[in-house]
């Protein structure tokens, strides 16, 4: 079921490439219509998510009763001060960790009930990670790095290399396919990691401080690129501590002491800071 809808999503984003911006809303409606057989129409539905850490006799409430709904095609940034619980939330959204309590549905699947293997498969199918430190494997070529998620999805060798090349074309690095990651600049490496995230056609692009290691000019390029990917129909969730970067998204959720205390349009967020 979910595989099928992924393909549909893909087709839609392809159509959009050609038809442009103004059909955006219609396409989103269409997506919802296509996936009406789901239990929920939302892409992400988090209710009462808590993540507590026991530190000796005190409990750290890293995430405390988080409610969040994200629709397909949104560009959301999660902003907050250091220690506010952003990474904790990202780990849960990215299915790297399960919440202490609360329910998290992604594409209608209950992540909280998954075992280790199911989580691995789920990450593979649904999440495209973009890390602050790029996290490319230094001993593999750029193309092999991009192929990794496809390898774990058991895609055939030939299709793997085709889809990896496609993803590299989208980030404009097809000429660097056989280079090693350390032969690339930071911005290029981050684009490779975006290509890797895109290669598996995930439901969400999940970026944790994607510009944290880049200079401001390259940061702007990467942010522009995220915007473009979002306009092509990809759902993007970006985590940052920097409000000015958060404002590049269309929607902003602010997390303070483990709780979301603002959730709205970027313009509204700009007004309160």
């Amino acid at each position: 079921m979910s595989k099928g809808s992924e393909i549909i999503t893909n087709e839609i984003s392809n159509t959009m490439d050609r038809s442009g911006d103004q059909t955006m809303d219609r396409t989103m409606d269409q997506t919802m219509y296509q996936t009406i057989d789901r239990k929920t129409a939302h892409l992400i539905e988090m209710t009462g998510i808590c993540k507590f850490y026991e530190m000796g006799d005190e409990t750290v409430r890293a995430n405390d009763n988080i409610n969040l709904i994200v629709e397909k095609g949104e560009f959301l940034s999660i902003v907050g001060k250091s220690g506010s619980g952003k990474s904790t939330l990202m780990n849960i959204i990215g299915a790297l960790d399960v919440p202490t309590s609360g329910t998290y549905l992604l594409d209608g699947e209950d992540v909280g009930r998954m075992n280790d293997n199911q989580l691995a498969d789920f990450r593979n199918r649904k999440i495209g990670f973009v890390f602050q430190q790029y996290n490319l494997l230094p001993k593999l070529t750029v193309q092999e790095n991009v192929e990794l998620p496809l390898l774990y999805a058991k895609v055939s060798r030939k299709e793997r290399s085709e889809r990896a090349m496609e993803a590299l074309v989208r980030v404009g690095l097809e000429s660097k396919a056989s280079n090693m990651p350390n032969q690339l600049s930071g911005g290029q490496q981050q684009r490779v990691s975006i290509a890797r995230a895109l290669a598996g056609s995930p439901s969400i692009l999940l970026a944790d401080e994607p510009t944290g290691a880049l200079d401001s000019r390259t940061s702007i390029q990467i942010l522009e690129f995220f915007k473009q990917l979002n306009e092509e129909g990809n759902t993007v969730i970006m985590i940052t501590h920097d409000s000015s970067i958060a404002l590049q998204a269309r929607r902003v959720a602010r997390i303070t002491d483990g709780t979301i205390d603002f959730d709205g349009k970027a313009e509204d967020y700009a007004r309160i800071i």
Binding site: R123, N124, A153, R196
Partner: protein, 393 residues
């Protein structure tokens, strides 16, 4: 599976130095096992063979003849005739010391032994040319000699030429009446198994001034009755001498038994050494794999974040460990085989080819080591939490 295989190869190749050091333990372990086993095996085989060629159904009797208590060859023959059901051959064996000359040449390493007509059958000798010593030669004390192939060729040119020629033993002239077929296919040398002179024992007794022989060799019908035969001989000799210091009865089969026991002991010892050295190699593999897991924590985290299941990570590390061990094992086999082929002839003057058993077992063990000792680090790698792993530097 094939992907993991390629991945493992890549990782081994990517860390050439570390991989080689890991393998070194296995290479040395396997090579040592193969070399030791082959050397001991070759040497023991050589020993067993020389024992067997002496005849495992043979019993040597050594007597100290006193003026009051003694056994003559007639007594021995009477005893032998009485026990025809057990014995098939018997010969007195009288060593003659002194000089042997063929023409003007001195044969210093050639042994001269006085024997009976049954000696040829007992030794399994076939005649190259001429005939063996016969009963009339013995009873009439003919000065005739049967010589080995080496002596025939060395001193008379060829076996055919040797017949009718004269040999001087302690100054007495003996006529060569026969040449025994070549015994040692590989080597024909002084002091070897083709260098001997045999004469009638009656003549030998006379020459050595002890009128009755003090050494006999019996051959039993079968190795299985050797012990029984030795017992009968001892009983008989005990009756005559009343003192078991005055005679010795040595069954070749007993020597072979103790040799076999020694071989078994050696094998056990070797097995122990082999086991320990391979265990050490295994711990080495485990150690390096554990280091490699720690070193690659971040890589494991990334792979897991991208959707690698535990089993995939597990597979990657186990295959890597197994492959390292297999490669090490193969190199060890090559090294061990080379050493045992080269060193055997140098050290022990005998061929010591690597034994199939040693090769198969040490290879099997090295693979097993890879799998067993690779498992622990691999499962540690697979269990790593991707969040913690990603955070590590």
């Amino acid at each position: 599976m094939r992907e993991s295989f390629n991945l493992a190869l890549k990782s081994i190749w990517g860390n050439k130095m570390r991989s080689f050091l890991t393998m070194l333990g296995i290479i040395i372990g396997v090579a040592a096992v193969i070399t030791l086993v082959s050397l001991v095996n070759g040497y023991m085989g050589y020993m067993t063979e020389s024992f067997t060629s002496m005849g495992t159904n043979q019993i040597n009797v050594n007597l100290m003849n006193m003026s009051t208590r003694f056994v003559t060859e007639e007594d021995m023959y009477d005893f032998y005739d009485e026990h025809q059901d057990i014995f098939i051959q018997m010969t007195p064996s009288v060593q003659v010391s002194g000089s042997v000359k063929a023409g003007s040449e001195q044969l210093s390493s050639t042994s001269v032994t006085g024997v009976s007509e049954e000696y040829a059958d007992m030794k399994g000798y076939k005649m190259e040319t001429g005939r063996f010593i016969s009963y009339p030669d013995i009873s009439t004390r003919q000065k005739v000699a049967v010589i080995g192939y080496f002596d025939a060729c060395q001193y008379f040119g060829s076996p055919e030429n040797a017949i009718g020629q004269k040999l001087k033993i302690n100054g007495y002239a003996f006529f060569v009446i026969g040449v025994v077929q070549r015994q040692d296919e590989d080597e024909l040398e002084e002091g070897g198994s083709d260098d001997f002179v045999l004469i009638p024992y009656s003549v030998a007794c006379k020459m050595s001034r002890s009128s009755i022989p003090s050494n006999y060799t019996f051959a039993t019908k079968d190795t299985s009755v050797s012990e029984e035969a030795a017992d009968i001989l001892e009983t008989y000799l005990e009756e005559v001498y009343r003192n078991d210091d005055l005679y010795t009865v040595t069954a070749m089969s007993e020597l072979l038994d103790s040799l076999n026991e020694m071989i078994a002991m050696m094998s056990l010892l070797l097995g122990g050494i082999a086991g320990i050295s391979l265990l050490v190699a295994g711990v080495g593999v485990m150690n390096i794999m554990l280091v490699s897991v720690t070193e690659r924590t971040r890589e494991i985290g990334i792979r897991k974040a991208l959707g690698a299941r535990r089993s995939v990570i597990m597979q990657q590390f186990v295959i890597e460990a197994a492959l390292t061990s297999v490669l090490g094992g193969l190199l060890g086999i090559a090294l061990g085989s080379a050493i045992s082929i080269v060193i055997g002839p140098m050290l022990l003057q005998t061929e010591t080819p690597p034994t199939a058993g040693a090769v198969i077992i040490s290879f099997g063990v090295s693979v097993a080591i890879g799998l067993i000792f690779g498992y622990m680090p691999a499962s540690r790698a697979a269990k790593l939490n991707p969040i913690d792993a990603l955070r590590s530097e």
